[in-house]
Each structure stands twice: as structure tokens, then as C-alpha cells.
């Protein structure tokens, strides 16, 4: 009638009906849906499958940390982990059965973290300063890393010996190592508890 379709003007006059040339355009929406669904799936699957890890270096010889202790007891600190969750004890310097008092600390921010930050104050401040410089683009990334590991490995840095009981849970050990890492303490070792310390620990738990 009056309306003329834009596709085949003039076609009607000849009487021959040519098949309408359909546009090549198809509805791609479902395909796009599918594509993005797959995309989302793969993005999530790949990023989630890479677990985080914590790097740790164990000493070469079991007797090593004890030898180190002979070098400088002023820098030595010991953390003893009991068999229950919240049994974390601390003492500085050399162990003497009669005089050493174990100090009970908890794994909260005000407990162990505060103690470690306090012990490691100088190193920590130096590292924070370096981080500040990195933020202000005064340091290159590689220089920052080099300086940081140099600062952490300073000769006067305190070192920590983590002693474990037979039934200490793995989680507790990781928690403590994590705290040490957070507080920029690089020098630590995980070793077995000595017999004398066991006695002191028992005494402490009973009290």
C-alpha cells in the first residue's frame, strides 16, 4: 500500500518476487552472554588457584642457633610455644632454670606484636623510613629491596628462637612466624625445646 519497505523498492512492479535479501546481522546476545560467562569463570578460576605462601629458610645444622646464642646473648630472644592454642611464652637472653621468668604473651596485636615491635624498634624504624622514601619515589624498587634486606640483616638486629613442644599445633608456629615477618624480623629459627625449658614451662602453666 502506501508504505514502502526500504529493502526492495521497485521490486513489486515487475511482478516477480525476489526473495528478500535478509540482513547478515544475527542476534548475538546469547553468544555474548556465553562468552562473558566463560570469561568470568576463567578469570576467577585462574586467580583463585594460586595459593599464597610464606618463605622460610631453615638453619643448616640443628645446633646452629645454639652456637649463635653463644655469640651474643644480649640480642637473643626466645619464644616458647606450648601445646595449647594460646600458650605463648617469652624470655630474653640466656636461659637459667632458677632465675628466668617466662612471660606469657598472647597472639593479639597488643601482645606479641607489641613486644616484637618494641624489641625490634631500631630496625623497624629504619625499614619504615625506607618505605616512606619508596613512596615518595626517592628510591628505586631494586635499591629499596636491597637496602631493606641489608637493614633487616643488620648485625645488631635481635634474633628470635622459636621453640616448640611435641604437640604444638602447626597453626601456632605459623602465627608466630607471621608476626615475626610483620615486625620485620629476619633472624629467627624454629627448634625443639630443651629439657630445662620444659620444666620452666610446666611450672608456668601450673601457676
Amino acid at each position: 500500500m502506501a508504505d514502502v519497505s526500504t529493502g526492495d523498492d521497485g521490486g513489486g512492479k515487475k511482478g516477480k518476487k525476489r526473495p528478500k535479501k535478509g540482513t547478515t546481522r544475527i542476534d548475538m546476545t546469547p553468544m555474548v552472554d556465553l562468552a562473558f560467562l566463560l570469561l568470568t569463570f576463567f578469570i576467577l578460576a585462574t586467580t583463585l588457584s594460586k595459593p599464597k605462601t610464606m618463605e622460610i629458610v631453615y638453619p643448616k645444622d640443628v645446633k646452629d642457633p645454639d652456637d649463635k646464642m653463644k655469640l651474643n646473648f644480649l640480642l637473643a630472644n626466645t619464644i616458647i610455644l606450648g601445646e595449647k592454642d594460646n600458650q605463648v611464652f617469652y624470655y630474653p637472653g640466656k636461659f637459667k632454670l632458677d632465675t628466668t621468668q617466662l612471660e606469657h604473651v598472647d597472639l593479639s596485636k597488643d601482645g606479641l606484636r607489641k613486644l616484637l615491635l618494641d624489641k625490634n624498634k631500631n630496625i623497624n624504624e629504619a625499614v619504615l623510613k625506607l618505605e616512606e622514601q619508596l613512596k615518595n619515589h626517592q628510591l628505586a624498587d631494586s635499591t629499596f629491596k636491597r637496602l631493606r634486606s641489608k637493614t633487616k640483616g643488620d648485625d645488631n638486629a635481635p634474633f628470635f628462637i622459636v621453640k616448640t613442644m611435641n604437640k604444638t599445633k602447626y597453626k601456632t608456629v605459623i602465627d608466630v612466624i607471621d608476626e615475626l615477618n610483620i615486625c620485620n624480623i629476619n633472624k629467627y629459627a624454629v627448634v625443639d625445646i630443651a629439657d630445662a625449658e620444659k620444666i620452666a614451662l610446666k611450672r608456668e602453666i601450673k601457676e
Partner: protein, 214 residues
Amino acid sequence: MPRSSPSLDMTPMVDLAFLLVTFFMLTSKFRAQEPVVVDPPSSSSQILLPENVMLITIDTAGRVFFDLTGKDIRRNMLQNVATKYKVTFTEQQYQRFAVMGTFGMPVVELPAYINADEKKRTLIDKTATGIPIDSLNNQLSDWVQEGYNAAERDNMAKFPDGKAPKDKRVRYAIKADGMTNYTKVKKVIDIFRERQIFQFNLITNLKGAGPAKS
């Protein structure tokens, strides 16, 4: 003004979407099904698990499971361990082992495990004893040694000048449940230390902890 149809040309978008899909499909590696569910403790560490890794899984009961990445490396390792323990594997079993995931049983029981289908494997995993780590029958130590040797040989073949880049060398990861006794983990670590391996990646979950502030 004529109403324009709301359809728009989606071709470039579809192109891009499929390009990305292809990319992610090819780059992503699917994790093989794990024989045990292990809930690692959380830490604030951000380090990612390295590429070539020898993974030791320890569950709450102290059972030890072993895994190593790399098809050729696994095959090579199994061949050497098999000769040592005088266990014979068929060619098909070697091929299946090469693409298998974590396992935890004495070498003698391994052929049956390789032959089993997925359903049967989960059943076996439930009752598996883990890889023996006693000092009398320390099979883990041999797996570690042969795994390391196989990985080194593989690197030698790929980098004949003997200078394999650091990230291509095999690393050692330990994934233990938070409730596992530390002694069990220590036993495994001691086996590594006997083999002069001192650096480990302990697998942890990420927890939201801010940086240290004094």
C-alpha cells in the same frame, strides 16, 4: 526523528570476549583433585606459589602426600623410584602417572591407585596411609631425591649450558593443616634438610593484616 533500533554492532565486543576466553582457557591450569582437604593456617604473606614446585601435603592425622609438577619430570622420577623399590609399572601406568596429581601411599600400592578410576581413587585416598617417613622405611626421602634429580635433568636438557634461570628450578612447598602437630611437619622438613634443602614455601591462606606500625 525516526526511532533507531536499539541493536548495536556487537562484533568487536564479541571478538574481544572470545580472545580473552581463549587466552584464559589456554593459560589456566586446572588443579587436579586433591586427595585430602587441608585447611592451611592464615598469614599476611603475599608471596605467590612458584611455578615448578614439589608439594608435600600433610593432613591433620599426619599423613604425607607428594606432588610434583611437570609431565616428563614425573615420569622420570617414577622410573627411578620404581627401579629402587623393584616395582614394575606398565607404559600405560607411566603415562597416567605423568598427568596425575597428589598421591600418598607406599610405592607398592601405587600401581593399583594409578589403575583406579576417579571414584575408586577417592575411596583409596580415605584409607591411604600416606607416604612412609619412618627412618627404617623412608620413602619420602627417595621421592624427594628422585624428584629433584629428575627436575635437574629436565633443566639440563632445556638449558644445556647448565644455567637454568632461578624461577625454573624446582622449589619445595609444604601445605599442612593448621591443626597438624608441628612435630609431623618438622619430620618432613628434617627429611629435606638431610638432602641439603633448606628453603621452603609454607602454603598459607591470606588474612587481612595491615603493615607493621610502631
